[in-house]
Symmetry: C2
Subunit: 291 residues, 2 copies
Amino acid sequence: MTTSTPQSAALRPEPAAEADAAPDTGYVHGYSPTEARRLGEQADTLAALLHAGTAYPAGSRVLEAGCGVGAQTVHLLTANPGVLLTAADVSADSLARARDRVAEQLPGADVRWHHGDLHRLPFPDGSFDHLFVCFVLEHLADPVAALAALRRLLRPGGTVTVIEGDHGSAFFHPRGEAAQRVVDQLVRLQADGGGDALIGRRLYPLLTGAGFRDVVVGPRTVYADGARPTLVEGFTRRTFVAMVEAVRAEAVAAGLTTAEAFDRGLTELRRAAEPGGTFHYTFFKAVAVNP
Amino acid sequence: MTTSTPQSAALRPEPAAEADAAPDTGYVHGYSPTEARRLGEQADTLAALLHAGTAYPAGSRVLEAGCGVGAQTVHLLTANPGVLLTAADVSADSLARARDRVAEQLPGADVRWHHGDLHRLPFPDGSFDHLFVCFVLEHLADPVAALAALRRLLRPGGTVTVIEGDHGSAFFHPRGEAAQRVVDQLVRLQADGGGDALIGRRLYPLLTGAGFRDVVVGPRTVYADGARPTLVEGFTRRTFVAMVEAVRAEAVAAGLTTAEAFDRGLTELRRAAEPGGTFHYTFFKAVAVNP
């Protein structure tokens, strides 16, 4: 779940790069300081919800595939001291930001940074005990192929953890057709870019299809109302509404809406963060084993 | 969350009765043995999810408002031995079934049964320590008025527990437009009948609006995939798909669809219960205090 910049390529972050070190042009999330900060805030708000249950023993060889700007990396490191972490991303720019973030928040943390496409990472078979893949598959044209490529890197008996959202789980009070339309437009833009913002519901068949076994998927549901002002601010307003808002220009440029109609939708959607409003969203977290 | 019989009044179970003992004609859920059994199975499947956290001390005076055929009543009694339970329903027929169910499953259980409209139950102010209201508000034209009327029966400091579904939370893999349409038609029929199948998201403002305080609402999410065959059978197939299927004739009679289109939607929806399919639904459970 990331916000795109208002460019047509924004929602297609994993180009079919020919080389291991893929060009940055396809992955345009999180390059502005504002966007990087927003992703960090989102990760902080959701850390307890999403990272609960992920515990790697010290000394484990862990690969975070698609670490982006490191928003989840700091939580992985904090929750799992002593792991031998490799963090890979297709974007050198994101990777640099991730390195800065970790250096700032966890000085002394030892991370091996790798710039490359997760479809063809140059590590030997079975190099890792655990894989962590968070908010990555949603952007890929062929997530089964990506998971299969990553599975090669996992030792037999090693685990993969996958976390994704599903924008079809977003519903809110008060309801509004204009608000629903802007959410649908975000989904449509991501689909047009080759991704799937409704991927959470597919984790079970995707992991099974990629050859993993013992696939266990669980919902991680966020619900925010007036009794939870921190979540209203941190999730409804600064995560979800902000993500929708960020595709405004792109949605207009794609001819999906007008600026006026999009703004009406945003205004309606923001009511979910006002007194009496409520907001619901479900993430899915999957753990599976490499046979 | 109940299934309606295929009649136009099916989704308007709480008529504006003039007398305390309301006529049965408006509450047509759960009168067939098949339907009563289905509601019982649904309740059994969901009991752990929905009843977790509801613990009343022995001796507590508890009112279950809208007990229907007693599907939840047996779980309330099992989880809370020693409570002084009053179970009320607007339908004498449902009440008789509830009495039979409790007598069969919990012989010796002491329940005070009351036939009457929950808007005007004839108990003195402050008669109860706790109220339990499950799958009832979704059928009411004015749920705030109902909650306010029930609040009168609660002693100061007493609690109300409300559980409702929200069909807007239903999403599934594989996706299908025909499947989504039949779900939407179920929502539409319930709305046409004066109810709201999307009420879960509204519990916070409804309870606040009825004068309760310390309102805490939490999602209780059901997610079923191939790793959980019991839930696929008990929830996806026998609860949700069965509920949609039960409005087939009504949807056709209302002119919302044709039998053929409805059946296509059902066929698509059933794929969520087949290998590789997944299904998601969120219930909302609220607890609030009478000031």
